[in-house]
Symmetry: none
Subunit: 419 residues, 2 copies
């Protein structure tokens, strides 16, 4: 079953309000196997509203309308839809009395302005809205079906969950659209596509979408129009197949945060962690401590932004003089010094050129050196990241977490306790 959404609101088009209802509806409809095939946003004006609804009904016979039911003069939706379904608006005493009573219980008096909210296109099914003054309306006729919902997010969501989804679910033969995300990092979208090319034809009937972001590339597998008991095992089997080709790059599923995945691994391995951050200035610590319970694993760190702080931490001045603050040697010494100072099992150091200034031929903007030190050894990694200052810093933190996670998973940093 397909449906379209028409969202009414001049303030949405002006960009002053972010439309979150649309994403919410898409998820809810997907969950019951209804495919949202188009969303349109139009201003609070008669003609654009009419044409968007007419076009949607032509294409799918089912249009959900968000907004345009308020008490102000610019809300013309009910009138437009009444005309489309060739029914007059009628004042409903039942709706009005309920509204007046509800307001009275709150010690409030309804404005005459609200009377129009009790007007209903003849024959429309009324969807009670306990959270606001405008009820939802469900019209069925020659033109198809139109479901009118108030645009206020809390009211919209309440009506979708309590009125719309249960009614549509009955019709959709229980089929669902269900997705699973495999989160990857440390590999470019094109390189990932090359690896996936061989297995992609075998994923049918599932579809695969690739979504690059600062955390890496998310791979979304989607099952369309299947029964839940078919969709779930299929998703799991194919996700496993994808993981075999993405290898160490796949760190989690769905909403997993690499910082949380890393912390869980540290907890399992009994590894205590500290950070020494230069160009990221605290961002790695922030990522780690955003996870509740991180104090079990995370000791803390030093934001070694100025060279004086790097020296205070224990990086020899001659290293900074000879190789510079952004160098393999500085990264290694930062990690070693932090490991000793805080006596942690794994110290992660980051030093780089985040830009926009400060780059050179030898050390361009985006160059970042990483150091990882455990109680015995230290290793360094070098990457040049693309993007803005923010992007470079965010990518550097994600890379650091990824490498640290791989090290802990492989048993590095546990040598002391094992021996």
């Amino acid at each position: 079953m397909d449906a379209e959404l028409v969202t009414i609101g001049t303030e949405l088009l002006l960009g002053f309000t972010l439309d979150t209802n649309s994403a919410f509806l898409g998820q809810r409809l997907g969950g019951i196997g209804v495919r949202l095939t188009r969303r349109s946003t139009v201003p609070d004006e008669l003609e654009p509203i009419r044409s968007a609804i007419v076009e949607g009904l032509d294409r799918t016979r089912l249009v959900i309308v968000s907004g345009g039911l308020g008490p102000t003069h610019d809300d013309v939706t009910k009138r437009v839809v009444g005309e489309l379904f060739q029914v007059p608006l009628e004042f409903s005493a039942a709706i009005w009395d309920e509204l007046v009573g509800r307001f009275a219980r709150l010690g409030r008096v309804l404005s005459e302005r609200n009377r129009c909210q009790a007007e209903v296109p003849r024959g429309a099914h009324v969807l009670p809205n306990p959270r606001g003054t405008a009820p939802g309306l469900w019209l069925t006729g020659e033109a198809g079906e139109a479901i009118l919902l108030p645009g206020v997010p809390g009211e919209f969501r309440g009506l979708v969950d309590e009125q719309v989804v249960p009614r549509l679910r009955e019709r959709s033969r229980n089929r669902v659209v269900r997705s699973m995300v495999i989160r990857t990092t440390g590999i470019a979208e094109s390189a990932l596509a090359d690896r996936l090319a061989s297995i992609e034809p075998q994923l049918a009937p599932l579809t695969l979408a690739s979504l690059p972001g600062l955390a890496g590339v998310d791979l979304r597998l989607t099952a369309w129009d299947l029964l839940p008991e078919e969709a779930q095992p299929l998703l799991e089997r194919q996700a496993e197949r994808i993981r075999t080709v993405t290898g160490d790059h796949a760190y989690g599923a769905d909403e997993d945060d690499l910082a949380a995945v890393f912390l869980a691994e540290c907890r399992r391995a009994g590894v205590r962690v500290g950070v020494a951050e230069s160009c990221t200035g605290g961002m790695l610590g922030e990522r780690i401590t955003e996870i509740p319970g991180s104090s079990e694993v995370f000791a803390g760190g030093v934001i070694a932004y100025a060279n004086s702080v790097k020296e205070e931490l224990g990086v020899p001045a001659r290293i900074l003089d000879q190789y510079g603050a952004v160098s393999q040697e500085a990264a290694l010494e930062m990690a070693r010094a932090l490991q000793r100072r805080f006596s942690v099992d794994l110290a992660i150091a980051i030093t780089g050129v985040a830009g926009p200034g400060g780059g050179s031929e030898a050390k361009p903007v985006g160059l970042v050196w990483f150091g990882f030190a455990d109680r015995k050894n230290a290793v360094a990694r070098r990457v040049v990241f693309p993007g803005s200052r923010h992007d470079i810093r965010a990518r550097a933190c994600q890379f650091a977490l990824w490498q640290a996670w791989l090290r802990v998973r492989a048993g590095e940093g546990e040598t002391e306790r094992r021996s």
Copy 2:
């Protein structure tokens, strides 16, 4: 001038991705007097993309398209638009060479898969995209105008600001919708509304909207449908009137970040800053170092998450034992120790209960103590913040920056050098 936006993405319709490009574009177009009259979101499929673009061109002759330019097989936008404008796709060696060169400088190799990103509909104007691999394209023909932009938010925004807005502005010698935001912090929305009540009637014809967020409450003044030379002085005059009642709470305008405002004040005053962070775990350092050039002012800090690190920093164990890590005494000692250790002019310390666990009757989740130490004195502040772990941490950083800014502005922390 009217325009429509067509956003391409099955992910958006499924509700897995929130569409922020649309609001951004609406704001930017409003700023140059171009009215966005419709937004449509369609899946990554040929027919829906084609019909949405055709309908938009029929209505407004100017359609901006977001998304559908990536290297994966589901990106068919260029093909569709080429057909609409009746021009073939041609491989551009110039674009390809630039791309290969850019990747080479980052030490990376482009996949053959990216070759399609160098294909251009004949006659299209190419909009360089330094942030990604797909350039923007601007087609003009019988059908009207189509502007194709990549959907990745950073790339989309960059191209809108650098390429689209300047070109469209030249054409719209028109009336504008123009806004100015006065950013406030450290005051509740309702308290702010009380202060504004007396002046609000005098703001007409401008409208005032109050937008609460983690950084504080933004007040947006909007001039509708005025000439730029009328709108700007009116906005400035009324913004000034608002600032007289918001006082110390108003820290900036429009997109101003309090971290940048604070750093500018430090630079002016010659104050060098360090941080000691417990519950914020590096977030304050991250906020400060996100600003380019922060190294002139910011020395660094210590993420004193575990008590052992607080002691290592120089907080006496008896303070932690007697008063606890979240206390006035601990906050003061953290600030004093950091100030001495890094020899900065102003040390900012944060220690609190970010939750979700760890709260008690005496020290509830949300309780945060702040310490501010200069070369002579130290003061503490106590606040209980509402919200989630993330909200509490973000609000704590904003509060710390606000208080630190007020101190530097008032000349605190400069006593040493002045004497």
